[in-house]
Symmetry: C2
Subunit: 337 residues, 2 copies
């Protein structure tokens, strides 16, 4: 991942804005790096770039794709993405990688993923392996989507790894939410979090090929029945259940047609734009949360005091509760000056 070359050059910001507008992937990649940076001067540049690009953004379909590890998400995205670029679409793939909180191992370090799509001139793939908080990564995903759209990408695929919180966050920023599921023996719903199934606009049973085809069809029937038990969606859309095989490319066209059908209905009923408006409200609230916290932690005096208090709290000399109160008093005092 290339870092920004000139950190305080104001013309650099303009160069990136122009580059994105011209669809240059190098400029896009560097702007995203700025967006993901936690350094204040980068943040300032990033804000300007995102704000400038907002007017050229929004003209895409944003698709969230989730599923447990092993379900074949990257293979699916590889084949599905190639189909879309062959149809003349420009496809951006963003991966929300919350990593494991214990091992902090990044599943996206694997360079062998999406080998074909990586070489495709009409595809842009951007993992975000650096996130130290689920919410943090997902927040930057909104800004990253804006930049991709401004650079001319009209299909955005956002991949998440099936651990609950990131799905909720991603569901709140996409137009269509797709759950990939492997056909297994027995109870198909075992192990799937109810909340994630509820969010899905479609369930796609992956790896429906060879010996697995019959099981996939059975799983499809089971899911169709199960989805009827969930409350209807506010837009009247009834979640679809499809099967596909990334191995032989089967079912991919149907998935794209289904999403097209969803779009037609949602745009006609204005639900599409209503949903994006609601998502923008959430964006405001989430972004505010970040700004409020940043302002506190970037306060030099407070930040130093926090380090001292962490020490004394660790030694049991003061309660976390009391320490927090004292830090807030210090923060407010420092703001009044």
């Amino acid at each position: 991942m290339a870092g920004p070359k000139k950190e305080i050059d104001p013309t650099w910001t303009q160069t990136l804005i122009r580059g994105i507008r011209n669809g240059e992937t190098a400029a896009l990649a560097q702007a995203i790096t700025l967006v993901e940076s936690t350094r204040p001067q980068h943040l300032e540049m990033a804000n300007t770039i995102v704000e400038e690009n907002l007017k050229n953004a929004g003209k895409s379909i944003r698709i969230g794709i989730t599923g447990v590890p092993g379900v074949g998400k990257s293979t699916f995205i590889e084949v599905f993405g190639k189909l879309l670029t062959s149809k003349g679409k420009k496809v951006a793939v963003l991966a929300v990688d919350p990593s494991s909180t214990v091992s902090r191992g990044s599943i996206l370090g694997d360079k062998t993923r999406m080998q074909e799509l990586v070489k495709d001139a009409h595809a842009f793939i951007r993992p975000s392996p650096t996130g130290n908080s689920l919410g943090g990564v997902a927040k930057k995903t909104r800004e990253t989507m804006v930049l991709c759209e401004a650079a001319g990408y009209n299909v955005i695929l956002v991949e998440t790894v099936g651990v609950g919180q990131s799905e909720t966050a991603v569901h709140g920023m996409v137009d269509f939410f797709l759950l990939l599921k492997l056909a297994g023996a027995g109870d198909e719903l075992q192990g799937i979090k109810r909340g994630i199934v509820e969010m899905a606009d479609a369930v796609v049973i992956s790896k429906a090929d060879g010996d697995n085809q019959k099981r996939a069809k059975m799983a499809q029937q089971e899911f169709k029945r199960a989805l009827h038990l969930y409350p209807p969606k506010s837009n009247g859309w009834v979640p679809k259940v499809l099967t596909c095989s990334a191995l032989n490319g089967e079912g991919m066209d149907q998935i794209w047609d289904m999403i097209g059908g969803y779009l037609d209905t949602a745009v006609a009923s204005d639900h599409f734009h209503q949903k994006r408006k609601e998502q923008n409200k959430y964006w405001l609230l989430n972004h505010l949360d970040e700004l409020i916290k940043d302002h506190f932690h970037h306060n030099n005096e407070v930040s130093k005091a926090l380090q001292r208090f962490l020490e004394t709290v660790g030694n049991g000399k003061i309660s976390p509760f009391k320490a927090a109160q004292k830090l807030m008093q210090l923060y407010h005092k420092s703001l009044k000056i």
Copy 2:
């Protein structure tokens, strides 16, 4: 759940503090209601009560219990809890119920759960069905643990419902983390989030009775092998895999003995106290986050402006990005006065 009777009576705070110290469950329940309240005057009372009780807290073993819906968590807790009270322990059961983000259905509305334990004079059961955010409920769980400990409860069981974020939060505030698992056909690890298995200090295969006994034993073997693939824990503890049956009470004594063994090792190596110290640091950081946000949102002028900006952001008249910046400017200006 009884609400606080007198909202602004300062002697009420002292009555509750005294009541908790005397182990009165009514006082404990009302104090927890105050802790969970979002009203500023309740918050102030709650802070005083928690701070006062902190010196009497900490003398318990805190056990987190997780598992997907249907695994039999409440039946397990009912039988395990009864065993502990029969051994002379005072047991508090706290349930972190994040609800479903879509349907907002509360699994804790079910009054038939833990029928025996509810009647036990040495058990205190407190569901928290009102939470509107995962983090929110979990944050209050720390304070609630402190109050329970101050009231003399020496085993705290914290139940979570297996959706990822709440487990991470609860793992960060307990001494021992137990994953309940149902023996199923085929791949035992299917559907379990890697992160949650990594956090577990023990995996317990539930419902190991009748026809299911053989499958439970197989699942136990499979898990033992699988757990070897995870990185070792920093304290040297090797996670154990046990089976149990809540139906006939089998395996419960072994589970308690295992936890006792963990405690002995962890206390001897001082890892137990080191972990609690680290957890207190997290508590400070989490509590700060809440205070910072509360302070922003309780600002009358800012709060009104936020409502206006949500409107204009919804109408697309201003970007979420710009709106957030303007709100921050307003907030900082209001603080200087």
